[in-house]
């Protein structure tokens, strides 16, 4: 599907952007509008939801998901998937929590760097198996997920590291404010800007899309696939490591099961944001909006007095609806089997072959 969809997707986006009011048809814009409408609707029912404090906590709560979704987006764009991110996050979080407990004198900056380095190492391990040995990402990261999760238990002996074992500076960093926003939100903004620059203006980023669009062609034009894949899983690990520190410090507790199942929320955020699991399609704006969408649902439920038990069901429904809508859009784009030239008539004549491909 992706091979056929990829080229038309680029052409479609370009055509859409150039036509009048065409920007309304862009997936990210639609998602953003839905987000605003949803927030407004909730605000009508419970005006407190639109207060500065509430929006601040929504952004703070979503920050980790935003960062993780951005990293996962890069991975998914290469036709890969990283299921080990949540376990990686928990392991790195435990590492810095233990480090902070036993050496309270260490500066927080050093602990953050340690968390990122630890995550980078674990991600590089995935990257090595996936890029050099060409093993399927889903299997590799499924295996490393179990190993990482078990390693937390070995490291901690099954014990918890709780708030009184952490220093004030360690706990305070994520929620300290700079220019009115928490450090967590600034981290997410920085991650989004970096990812945006990476995907749009660097060779590395563009080559990730090339690999996802058509790996064989990418190899023929000389994309260093092994190095790029290695890099992308290492980045994914590094972001997970950073989020590990942020998570543990924010909630002031570290134990074996933290962020259990979070990898699926991260992938869900990407899927809602229009990142195609078949590779080659995905944008920074999409990933950020997808993560914010999930964050919005989570934060809105208590405000409109819906039981938090509804959260999972609503999230699932949103994912299914989002992918069905995305698939319908993709289908329309897939009808043309060659990218349109400027001002050329749509190739209706391609009928039977294209129709067969559609099945």
């Amino acid at each position: 599907m992706s091979v056929r969809q990829a080229a038309p997707e680029v052409a479609r986006r370009r055509d859409v952007r150039r036509s009048r009011a065409g920007w309304l048809k862009l997936r990210e814009v639609q998602l953003g509008l839905i987000l605003v409408v949803l927030a407004a609707a909730i605000g009508l029912r419970a005006p407190v939801f639109l207060s500065g404090h509430s929006i601040d906590s929504l952004l703070t709560d979503s920050a980790i998901l935003v960062m993780m979704a951005l990293a996962q987006m890069l991975v998914i764009v290469t036709r890969g998937i990283d299921l080990s991110v949540a376990a990686n996050l928990a392991l790195c979080g435990m590492v810095v929590a233990l480090l902070g407990e036993h050496h309270p004198g260490l500066p927080v900056a050093l602990l953050i760097v340690t968390a990122m380095a630890c995550g980078l190492l674990l991600g590089a391990l995935n990257g090595l198996l996936i890029s050099v040995l060409e093993l399927p990402p889903i299997v590799v990261t499924l295996g490393s997920m179990s190993v990482f999760r078990g390693a937390i238990f070995v490291l901690s002996g099954g014990a918890w590291v709780s708030a009184h074992q952490m220093t004030r500076a360690f706990i305070d960093f994520p929620l300290e404010r700079l220019l009115g926003m928490t450090h967590l939100v600034w981290c997410a903004i920085a991650a989004a800007l970096l990812a945006w620059h990476l995907t749009r203006y660097t060779r590395f980023g563009r080559e990730l899309y090339a690999i996802g669009n058509h790996p064989v062609s990418a190899r023929y034009v000389g994309v260093p696939i092994v190095r790029r894949l290695f890099g992308v899983y290492a980045i994914s690990g590094m972001v997970a490591g950073l989020c590990g520190y942020l998570w543990v410090a924010r909630y002031a507790v570290a134990f074996t099961e933290i962020a259990f199942g979070f990898e699926l929320s991260v992938i869900a955020a990407c899927v809602i944001g229009g990142v195609s699991i078949a590779g080659g399609v995905g944008s920074v704006a999409g990933a950020v909006l997808g993560a914010l969408f999930l964050g919005l649902i989570n934060n809105a439920l208590p405000v409109v007095q819906v039981s938090p038990f509804w959260q999972s069901a609503i999230t699932g429904l949103v994912i299914v609806v989002a992918v069905v809508l995305n698939a319908r859009e993709g289908k329309r784009a897939g009808k043309q089997i060659l990218p349109l030239h400027e001002n050329a008539a749509p190739p209706e004549a391609a009928g039977p072959v294209a129709a067969l491909h559609e099945r």
């Binding site: 599907m1 998937i81 198996l129 040995l133 060409e134 093993l135 399927p136 889903i138 299997v139 590799v140 499924l142 295996g143 490393s144 997920m145 179990s146 190993v147 990482f148 999760r149 078990g150 390693a151 238990f153 070995v154 099954g158 074996t256 259990f260 199942g261 699926l264 992938i267 869900a268 899927v271 699991i277 078949a278 039981s307 038990f309 509804w310 959260q311 999972s312 069901a313 609503i314 999230t315 699932g316 429904l317 994912i319 299914v320 992918v323 069905v324 995305n326 698939a327 319908r328 289908k331 559609e358 099945r359």
Partner: protein, 348 residues
């Protein structure tokens, strides 16, 4: 259009077989000691024998027949799900929502039980709900051409959410004894009924996959869905049927598990989808589709079951088991690739 024979590209025979190799469909399997020794299943038999021998020598009570029989309780339900997952992975699909389907099936049974439905009715409801959930997955995948991993991540959240909405922080208990008899009972006084159910289904799935035209077509779809479609196989209908099968098996596993533990909580069978997938991959089924056998998966189930059982006897905490399983998975997929890479270099 010229007919496209499935066996056309199968003449090449380099004899390698691994978890990640691209599938081939040969018209006849070459038979010989050398070919047999290279099979994935042979490796699994050796590993299983080593584990059993090691456990028997080092752990008191490992080879006790009652203990062994009881150890099958730990994996029978998961293995039932893994059987259906095998077929899905062979056709290049996957179902992440199986454990959530199990939860919904169990919740439906609990609700029906609270309304006074008898045990056979409960079992029927569990299986039917499973089949229904599987049908929804299958329809979404086939009608909208969405990758199954995306669909089932969504429906996983949805199904698990339904269980959460219905139960909240409560639980259904007080199931009839007859249901418990299915989950906990023994046949002939020694063999757990669950295990017999597993063996029966394994036999059924093996016959279906390895002995019928349907099975050959499943391999054909996994090898090359487009070619399979061109040669007249109703690919989407097969996919739909396999998703329904996966849901149904999750429903059956739900009936057995509910009977065995006698209660339903919203987090029942949490994380089982990944364990079932691990069993399938360890069993030598290629994630790229088109290759794998039921025998391999069953052997992987026994191997994992014996490791869990041995570690349990040795008082090793359960979470260590996840390291072992993860490492086993990584090693089993890495080693064949390393061997294949190493071989020509030594020859040169």
């Amino acid at each position: 259009m010229r007919p496209v024979g499935i066996a056309a590209g199968a003449a090449r025979e380099d004899g390698t077989m691994s978890a990640t190799a691209r599938p081939r469909i040969a018209d006849d399997h070459p038979f010989g000691v050398a070919a047999l020794a290279r099979r994935w299943e042979t490796l699994l038999v050796v590993v299983l024998a080593l584990i059993v021998a090691g456990g028997g020598l080092s752990l008191h009570g490992f080879l006790d027949l009652d203990n062994l029989a009881d150890s099958t309780f730990n994996f029978s339900e998961k293995a039932l799900i893994a059987l259906a997952m095998t077929l899905l992975i062979v056709v290049r699909e996957i179902d992440i929502s199986v454990s959530a389907i199990l939860a919904v099936a169990s919740v439906a049974m609990g609700y029906a039980n609270s309304r006074g439905v008898a045990a056979p009715g409960l079992a029927a409801i569990g299986v039917a709900v499973g089949a229904l959930c599987g049908t929804l997955n299958g329809l979404l995948v086939t009608r909208f051409a969405i990758p199954s991993i995306v669909v089932t991540i969504g429906t996983m959240s949805l199904y698990r959410g339904i269980a959460l909405v219905v139960l909240g922080d409560q639980a259904y208990t007080n199931y009839p004894d007859a249901l418990g008899e299915w989950g906990q009972g023994y046949a002939f006084g020694v063999v757990p009924r669950e295990f017999l159910v597993l063996l029966a289904f394994a036999l059924g799935f093996a016959l279906l996959l390895h002995g019928t035209t349907y099975g050959r077509r499943i391999y054909a779809i996994g090898s090359n869905p487009t070619a399979a479609r061109y040669s007249g196989i109703p690919v989407d209908r097969y996919r739909l049927a396999l998703f329904i099968a996966a849901g149904t098996m999750a429903g059956i596993a739900g009936v057995l598990l509910t009977g065995r533990i006698g209660s339903t909580r919203p987090n029942i069978a949490l994380g089982w989808e990944l364990e079932a997938i691990t069993m399938v991959i360890l069993g030598g089924v290629s994630i790229a589709g088109g290759a794998g056998t039921i025998a391999g998966v069953l052997l992987a189930v026994f191997t994992l079951g014996m490791v869990t059982y041995g570690l349990g006897l040795a008082n090793v905490p359960g979470i260590i088991m996840t390291i072992v399983v993860g490492a086993l998975l990584l090693v089993t997929i890495t080693v064949p690739v390393l061997l294949r890479r190493g071989a020509p270099r030594r020859a040169a």
